[in-house]
């Protein structure tokens, strides 16, 4: 029941036919404040930006001109934009599964006993509350190829560590690692909640049915019941990964040579650093279209699989 677009006819209890008008009116009134806020703070500004995508507006310029699809044409030829797209896709493809599986594993570990639960929950949630601007220096140091502890540890094992953040070959991997670090705690908490909701009786019943080992308990009871949680976590994690920005802005600024450039960072720098608002708006439009398509695909594909009411 946590899927995205359930047909109205399948929703909740059947006895909702009566008082159709009164109910509809009440519903609209209840959602009205949210709708107003949404329209004012999100919808209209976004539409304004979409409109700007068809102009040559520069920040601070006294006037702007309509240029049709010129910005989009330029976008298609822009080697930087294509790289940006690819890097973002890479980041999402790596951080999403790892942070979901990692979050689940941590949740299982923590819930697997009674000792230290509150402590470990806090420990793994800490990265979520971190301010990347401050953490950036810590990560610069951690991953420093010559004076950093990561490579020092590798050296002790006889391995020559890469130039994590400075080489265009390894920079996206490093950012993905940091991205997982940031996200795992968030997912862990969501899974924790899902796990604590699974009733003990189900495990007892399973045991009666001959399911004994931890692994089969997981597969027959835990995993199916976590389905809807997992779907929620998947959606949220993908969206958060798509919107990666802070770690790029503070650690690499898209470098070296655009090796770590991501969509939102490109959008930001074009508009706020290079002052080319029209072009930045065009990137925004492409970004929104891409993610909407992605979300639609995801709900269509997974909607059927996971359903446990």
């Amino acid at each position: 029941m946590s899927d995205v677009a359930l047909p109205a006819s399948l929703a909740t209890a059947p006895a909702k036919e009566r008082a159709g008008h009164g109910e509809a009116l009440a519903a609209w009134l209840l959602t009205l404040p949210a709708i107003v806020a949404f329209v004012l703070m999100l919808l209209i500004p976004t539409l304004a930006v979409v409109a700007i995508a068809f102009t040559d507006y520069e920040l601070g310029a006294p006037a702007l001109r309509y240029v049709g699809l010129a910005n989009f044409a330029e976008l298609m030829e822009d080697r930087g934009f294509v790289t940006s797209f690819r890097n973002t896709a890479f980041f999402v493809a790596v951080t999403t599964p790892v942070s979901i599986v990692g979050g689940l594993m941590l949740a299982l570990l923590i819930e697997g006993g009674t000792r230290g639960r509150a402590f470990f929950r806090a420990v793994f949630f800490l990265p979520v509350v971190s301010l990347m601007v401050a953490m950036a220096t810590a990560f610069q140091y951690m991953f420093h190829p010559t004076i950093g502890p990561v490579n020092a540890a590798l050296r002790a094992l006889g391995i020559v560590g890469p130039n994590w953040l400075g080489s265009s070959d390894s920079v996206m991997w490093t950012l993905a690692i940091i991205g997982v670090w940031e996200q795992v705690g968030f997912n862990m908490v969501l899974f924790l909640a899902g796990l604590t909701a699974i009733s003990r009786d189900l495990y007892a019943a399973a045991e009666v049915d001959g399911v004994r080992s931890a692994w089969s308990r997981f597969w027959t009871v835990t995993w199916p019941l976590l389905g809807p949680t997992s779907l929620f976590v998947l959606t949220i994690t993908m969206i958060r990964s798509l919107r990666v920005f802070d770690i790029v802005a503070t650690l690499t600024q898209g470098g070296p040579n655009k090796a770590s450039e991501v969509l939102l960072y490109t959008m930001y720098t074009e508009g706020f650093t290079f002052f080319r608002m029209g072009y930045s708006a065009a990137i925004t439009v492409v970004f929104l279209l891409a993610v909407v398509v992605l979300m639609l695909l995801q709900t269509r594909v997974l909607d059927r699989r996971v359903h446990y009411g």
Binding site: L30, A34, P127, L131, A134
Partner: protein
């Protein structure tokens, strides 16, 4: 590894049997905390000890006065923390006020356009924060509310994530409760006020954590909305005060500022933890 809490036998485990699990968690925990440990260590060190080639966590000379002192002297950090609290609280209040009724309506009430509304909610989740910024800035400037708490709070009052979450939560709530209330002749509004809100408390606590964390650390919008003498600056602005590219950061003070602004969040999480887990449990993410 044992899935699920209160697994048969898991709560009476002896320390010895629990050791592998605790050991694994401790090792992982240490890895996760490394950046933080280093951050706090740097905040205690004088500048010339930070980059010594031989790494040591304990400072030779403690520079607490120098680093933390500099933060408190040069930046009205107490004021910034207060602003952070006011802004986050204000945002949370409005987010709940808008999302609770909306979530309920979309979960329990039957009306045409419900699915379209939900599609808009999902769309809203995808819009990055930078997108509405400039148009909102211009609009706020025209209406004269720039550089006020209102400007800091308003754009975040609509949280589509909250609506999403509360919709899930209310779907899991038994309908009988609401039927009974209707039988008693309560109108929709009273139902919301008298039944929904009190029952939504756990989910609201859960959401509150995510919301506060996100907005406490927000750098981008406050930089745009606080355009005057900076009395309304938020915690993150106090941290970037010490970042300068050309001349080199004052790492000790930077880490000290970061530590100071992170502590309230950690404290809040520790306090709210139990409520929080409870809250999400009942969000019906299980279905």
């Amino acid at each position: 590894m044992n899935p699920g809490s209160q697994m048969p036998g898991s709560h009476d485990r002896s320390l010895a049997a629990d050791l592998p699990r605790l050991a694994l968690l401790s090792v992982l925990g240490l890895l996760f905390l490394m950046p933080y440990i280093w951050m706090v260590s740097v905040s205690l060190k004088p500048l010339d000890e930070v980059w010594r080639a031989s790494m040591s966590l304990i400072p030779e000379t403690f520079a607490i006065e120098r680093n933390y002192g500099r933060v408190f002297r040069e930046v009205p950090i107490g004021r910034y923390l207060l602003n952070g609290a006011i802004v986050c609280f204000g945002i949370l209040v409005f987010q709940l006020a808008f999302a609770l009724p909306a979530g309920y309506a979309m979960a329990k009430l039957n009306f045409r356009g419900r699915e379209t509304l939900f599609a808009f909610v999902m769309l809203g989740l995808l819009i990055p924060a930078h997108v509405p910024a400039i148009p909102l800035y211009i609009a706020f400037a025209q209406t004269g509310i720039l550089n006020t708490y209102a400007a800091l709070i308003a754009p975040s009052t609509i949280s589509v994530f909250a609506i999403f979450m509360f919709r899930q939560f209310f779907r899991a709530m038994p309908d009988e409760l609401i039927h009974a209330a209707r039988m008693d002749g309560l109108g929709e509004w009273s139902i919301v006020w008298r039944i929904i809100v009190p029952n939504a408390w756990p989910a609201a606590t859960a959401f509150a954590i995510f919301s506060v964390v996100a907005h406490w650390n927000d750098l981008f919008w406050p930089l745009i909305a606080v355009s005057g003498k900076g009395e309304l600056a938020t915690p993150a602005l106090g941290v970037i005060y010490f970042r300068t590219e050309e001349a080199g950061d004052d790492f000790g003070a930077l880490m000290a500022a970061a530590t100071i602004t992170t502590i309230p969040l950690v404290a809040a999480f520790l306090l709210a933890q139990r409520r929080f887990i409870e809250g999400i449990t009942m969000t019906g993410l299980k279905g």
